[in-house]
Symmetry: C2
Subunit: 362 residues, 2 copies
């Protein structure tokens, strides 16, 4: 099997809303990636929930590229890591040698609301399931609102060191705890916010990787889908079977384990999800995620995560991988995690009803 | 590299319109494929231009599957072969061992009209570029309306032997020639018709293929994208650079050549496209496609092609591959092409601005 590397990556500034079209957003992070390199781009895969037709091919044309392969991929909030898994596969299988993976989203994406899921009744905003997860975790393990707040405080602090993050101002535990209750026990500052944003990655074959400085290798990919509805999504509500299965497969493929992970981007669309991720990924023992939130041993969400950066749905998974690639290649400037060698990305969709885990290595 | 086979396939009956949702359409051809087999389904990839969110995951849930990988792929009329190329890659690369590729479309899909392409001005129906291709081919090579009609006559005759085809009645050269002019020289019976329909394929690894009777192997895949707009799509208007490049790559990968192809499904959304395909695929010499239409040496479009079967956009590429897989495994009943061993699928999108060629072998 051919090894696959991330040779370059870039992320745009995430903003509440902009006048840019989905196509302009998508092109933005690609410009630097494609202009400085002497290699051709064999594939352009676009990750977005935007419903524009032929959109990956339009982006390819706007960038002046004539790739062999071009199509759009969507699967809500983990569209981005699905696109990376596809690009990885195409290069590993030898269908192409290089692939530009682009994630882009507008803040008013129809992907923000889970209207298809009749098992939710009228409760079709993501915050409704976050509320149920939080209640279950609190009741079963004694997790507290303050522990959840600690996640938000950490990620907003990290975001303040990331010029591309939507939120540039740190928040205190008190501010989180006293913010408006959206769906008890989830408060405003436990929630991420939809926004405009984009991110891009250049994946290349082992042979092409030699032309780049500090390529980062894709070492493991795990994915798991349980259902499209909340009914079967979380059979015990306090952990996500999809994420733990995806993690197991990714660790196996990468021949590594939780204790070897130095840096991670985890899917913190709500604070409770980051606490559950600690457990599902094996960073903390089951039920100990709340305590782990107050004493992180691994650098988690150094870019500010989804809570700090904002959540442009189709771009999020790409931006997560971009951050870990930056960290492992030593290009993360002010927020560089020193000496990191192995990184992990955890990316969920729709109440964790599907999950991707990707492991990267320097 | 792991070899990849098509282990099973099925296509629904294509109809002008139905009361079925995109999800019901998608599930229809999958039922038989998944119920008779003892293997798990590792991936569900949905090919459609329908804009429903999380649609592949909804289809997986409706089918009672819990795949590792699930996402939707779209690239207009070649969405289907793009999904097959992705599934092939994932299995070849070892990310999964089996993948269900499902194509489905409703007749009123927004993919039917090329509204994004400002280079077309107000001429944003596909028939407008078919008219320009036909005029160029006629003027440069002396291709005639009667030769174009021969394509429609052949494909409608084939469709009459396919119970799932939209059109069940053969037509004569005279009927095609006297049908209403839509965009000169393209007449009504030179055009395919959008419809409701779906098709599904089960792709498996070499090891799993042993459990199935007569698996068909994916031997070559070639893809090429030129642009999203008509402006650059066909630089000489009488041939499609995308298709000839995709064919070249597919022949190379499959280590075969045009003279070894026994049966093919080519993208006959308009009669002129099938004539251009003969040349782009190397079945006929440049300029001789019109003559070839009146004296086919290879069995082309045995299911009735797009002209005879109808054109459910996201399903078309999947249905084309399903037909060739049926032919090569000897399961094509009344329309079986005797002794065929190597087959080809040619699938275009949006004025041939992107193309996929897939070569299959018994």
């Amino acid at each position: 099997m051919r090894r696959v590397a991330i040779a370059a990556s870039a992320t745009s500034r995430f903003e509440k809303t902009t006048d840019k079209s989905i196509f302009e957003l998508a092109c933005e992070p690609c410009i630097d990636i494609i202009k400085n390199k002497e290699i051709g781009i064999d594939a352009v895969l676009l990750s977005t929930c935007s419903t524009e037709q032929y959109s990956s091919t339009i982006v390819a044309e706007m960038l002046g590229l004539r790739p062999k392969i071009s199509h759009r991929i969507d699967n809500l909030c983990n569209s981005g890591t699905n696109a990376v898994a596809s690009a990885y596969s195409m290069i590993a299988a030898g269908l192409c040698d290089s692939a530009l993976v682009v994630g882009a989203e507008k803040s008013d994406s129809t992907g923000n609301r889970l209207v298809w899921d009749v098992t939710r009744g009228a409760f079709n905003f993501p915050v409704h399931w976050a509320s149920m997860f939080a209640k279950a975790h609190m009741s079963k393990y004694g997790t507290t609102g303050k522990q959840m707040a600690a996640v938000s405080v950490k990620n907003r602090k990290n975001a303040a060191r990331n010029k591309n993050a939507l939120f540039q101002k740190p928040v205190s535990v008190e501010e989180v705890m006293s913010s408006k209750i959206i769906a008890d026990p989830i408060k405003l500052l436990d929630c991420s916010r939809a926004c405009d944003g984009s991110s891009a990655l250049l994946l290349v074959s082992e042979q092409l990787a030699r032309k780049f400085e500090n390529p980062v290798w894709i070492k493991g990919i795990g994915q798991q889908t349980n259902s499209a509805s909340f009914g079967k999504a979380a059979e015990n509500l306090s952990s996500l079977d999809t994420a733990s299965r995806a993690a197991k497969d990714a660790y196996l493929m990468a021949k590594t384990k939780p204790s070897e992970i130095d840096v991670a981007e985890v899917h913190d669309a709500f604070t409770i999800l980051e606490i559950m991720a600690y457990e599902d990924l094996g960073f903390a023992r089951k039920g100990k995620g709340g305590q782990y939130a107050e004493s992180n041993k691994i650098a988690i969400n150094p870019r500010g995560g989804i809570l700090g950066c904002g959540h442009p749905i189709g771009a999020t998974g790409v931006a997560q991988i971009s951050e870990i690639a930056m960290q492992l290649s030593g290009k993360a400037s002010e927020r560089q995690v020193k000496g990191c060698k192995t990184g992990l990305v955890h990316n969920l969709a729709a109440a964790g009803s599907s999950a991707t885990v990707v492991i990267l290595g320097a």
